[in-house]
């Protein structure tokens, strides 16, 4: 058995709001491990934490902003991305990260998601996908697999879910990856890459929700879902995002799907300033 790390020894203490512990997440929830990967990625990236801002929307994953010791904004439901857009454009020296859930980013915030990707604004998005709305008690959402049970699909979900990597890639994101929280090292590395890379980077992170989604879908313990990830996940870097849709109990394709280059919104803004200056002179 490994010795637990005590609070005093944890080298990441300076990046965590210890005065806010314990957090609100359930035992077995996958959001905490994803936050851990983000915290470690900050160190791996070598970026100055004073220049990193974290924005969240509303929901279980949205609480992440309250636990990291960064300039952090807990905004309204679905609106983390436009808030982050204003922050990034207002101060391009900031490294802006959005950490929120699938319901927040893909349902109520879906319009902002596709337009942020289209603009290629230099923001990193970490999207926790636990297949349901956890904070409100396990309702179906835009990522709930077909036939899955939730508190609002008691007869099984009949709506087709989004294939989120496909959606953001089609909208123009220049970095798209998917991992589960079981893939802790890959996830940490992926977040590190995304933090450093200019442009709109999107990482979907599958995370267990044993209290709600798991309990209603034969995975009542976080560990059940982790085993399921282990059995179902296949790493396919460079996979075509259109081929990575998730169903109820089939294969989960993980990996880095898109890593490409395109002018960012910030680059384009500089172009506008230059053109306006030219016109004024002429």
């Amino acid at each position: 058995m490994t010795t637990p790390i005590t609070e005093e020894e944890n080298k990441f203490n300076s990046l965590i709001r210890l005065d806010r512990m314990p957090h609100i997440w359930c035992a077995g929830c996958g959001i905490g491990p994803a936050v851990g990967c983000f915290i470690r990625a900050i160190e791996s990236s070598g970026l100055d934490p004073d220049k990193i801002a974290l924005i969240s929307g509303i929901g279980c994953a949205g609480r992440a902003a309250g636990y990291v010791k960064l300039d952090s904004f807990h905004t309204t439901h679905g609106r983390a991305l436009p808030f982050a857009t204003g922050l990034k454009v207002g101060n391009p020296d900031l490294n802006v990260v959005v950490f929120s859930g699938d319901g927040d980013l893909v349902a109520i915030g879906g319009n902002h998601l596709i337009h942020s990707a289209r603009r290629n604004i230099d923001i990193t998005v970490i999207c926790i996908n636990n297949f349901n709305y956890g904070m409100t008690g396990g309702q179906m959402g835009p990522t709930t697999p077909l036939d899955a049970r939730s508190t609002t699909t008691p007869y099984g979900n009949v709506e087709y879910p989004f294939n989120v990597p496909y959606l953001v890639a089609a909208s123009g994101a220049t970095y798209v990856a998917r991992w589960t929280v079981l893939h802790a090292r890959q996830l940490e590395w992926s977040i590190t890459e995304a933090l450093i890379k200019p442009g709109f980077s999107f990482i979907e992170v599958l995370a267990p929700c044993p209290t709600l989604y798991g309990r209603m879908n034969k995975e009542p313990q976080g560990m059940n879902t982790m085993h399921s990830y282990q059995e179902r996940s296949v790493v396919k870097d460079g996979a075509d995002p259109k081929d990575v849709a998730i169903n109820y109990d089939g294969q989960i394709v993980v990996g880095k799907f898109i890593d490409t280059e395109r002018q960012t919104f910030g680059d384009q803004c500089k172009l506008v300033l230059d053109r306006a200056k030219e016109k004024k002179k002429g």
């Binding site: 960064l70 436009p82 902002h112």
Partner: protein, 383 residues
């Protein structure tokens, strides 16, 4: 245009354009918006002019995003603005509340058109006055100004920025289509730096900084992102640290302060203009474009031997209730013309508390009152 790109001189321009120039003179360097009649020209002007002063215009996917983007930009340290009209104003209400809760300086311009719903997109109204006050959920106070001319929309936009920076609250410029699309002479003075207000910044070290600890004036100093304060802010009910606390006690402290920082400072915020009030037996209480029409009606009433006066509201919210209470002791009646079916008249009626009568002169929208309609109401009120 001066070297720094800020306009200076005398111009012939419409209200929407004057509003944009007011913002630029006030130091606004970020604008997020979405096209909507009759406010589009504000956005168009900003897209052309902001690059001249090193600012950024961004066209968002909707008004929800526009409102959020200006909040984000404000936390990056920029003076930020958006403009819209009725339907967009409705969409902005959600995050106007976030702006109030996070205490974020910013300016929201509403070039009002007639509603409900899509209504009369190209024609004037003043139908969003109560929405301006109560449109977002929860208990809060807001500041709203009502200009009557292109010159005033220029001037009041600067005032709006100053008040928002001073009180850390979104400030609304409640104009309308008539003012927005009216072209007139606008004098743009050179604004001295000391005429512009900037939010108070923290003077303590990051480890001692409490984002929502306010002193005497109830307005806490504001850190901005990227300066090492590593603060947390949330739309949840929060304590002085900015941390969410889900109790009635903390809710009480927070909401009281958010409301009181405006209410208790109302003498500093509220501004109005009085014409012929001293001996008046009837007062026309008007704002925005309607005040401009009412001015003529009041003059005509005087010419007809009626002791009429005018209380013209510059700040509509917070409401000039102290002054109306005083005047209610003196006059017989208040006549309230407005381009809606009765909104600000309710406030006037509340403040008169039965000591003077109130008479609404409604206009459903699509134009402005005829001065004779207001004159007729003045005559009726003194009978």
């Amino acid at each position: 245009m001066s070297e720094d790109g800020v306009l200076c001189g005398t111009f012939f321009m419409n209200g929407d354009v004057a509003c944009a120039e007011g913002a630029i003179s006030a130091g606004c360097r970020f604008f997020a918006g979405y096209p909507i009649t009759p406010a589009t020209e504000v956005a168009e002007r900003m897209s052309e002019r902001l690059p001249h002063v090193g600012g950024i215009y961004i066209q968002m996917e909707d008004e929800i995003a526009s409102m959020n983007a200006i909040l984000g930009a404000s936390w990056a340290g920029k003076k930020a603005m958006t403009s819209t009209s009725g339907p967009g104003f409705s969409l902005m209400m959600e995050n106007l509340g976030l702006g109030v809760m996070l205490e974020t300086p910013c300016v929201l311009v509403n070039i009002q058109r007639a509603g409900p719903s899509t209504g009369l997109p190209t024609l004037a109204a003043q139908g969003d006055m109560m929405q301006a006050r109560w449109g977002s959920h929860g208990s809060y106070e807001i500041i709203a100004l009502a200009p009557s001319s292109p010159q005033e929309i220029f001037d009041f936009t600067i005032t709006a920025f100053n008040l928002s920076e001073r009180y850390r609250v979104p400030v609304l410029v409640m104009s309308d289509e008539a003012v927005g699309h009216m072209s007139e002479k606008v004098v743009i003075p050179r604004i001295a730096p000391e005429e512009l207000v900037s939010r108070r910044r923290p003077e303590v070290a990051p480890e001692e900084y409490l984002p929502y600890k306010a002193d005497g004036d109830l307005v806490p100093p504001m850190a901005i992102a990227g300066e090492g304060y590593r603060f947390h802010v949330t739309g949840l009910t929060h304590d002085e640290r900015g941390y969410p606390i889900m109790t009635a006690e903390v809710q009480d402290q927070l909401v009281r302060r958010l409301v009181d920082k405006i209410r208790l400072n109302r003498k500093d915020i509220i501004s109005y203009e009085e014409i012929g009030i001293e001996d008046a037996e009837v007062i026309v209480c008007a704002y925005g474009i309607t005040a401009r029409v009412a001015r003529l009606a009041v003059q005509q009433a005087r010419d007809a031997g009626i002791r009429a006066g005018m209380l013209r509201l510059i700040t509509v919210w917070p409401f000039a209730e102290d002054r109306i209470r005083e005047l209610a002791e003196q006059v017989k009646a208040f006549v309230v013309p407005e381009i809606n079916y009765g909104q600000i008249v309710l406030e006037v009626e509340r403040c008169t508390a039965g000591k003077a009568s109130t008479l609404l002169v409604p206009h459903m929208g699509g134009g402005v009152h005829h001065p004779l309609t207001i004159l007729k109401a003045i005559k009726e009120a003194v009978q």
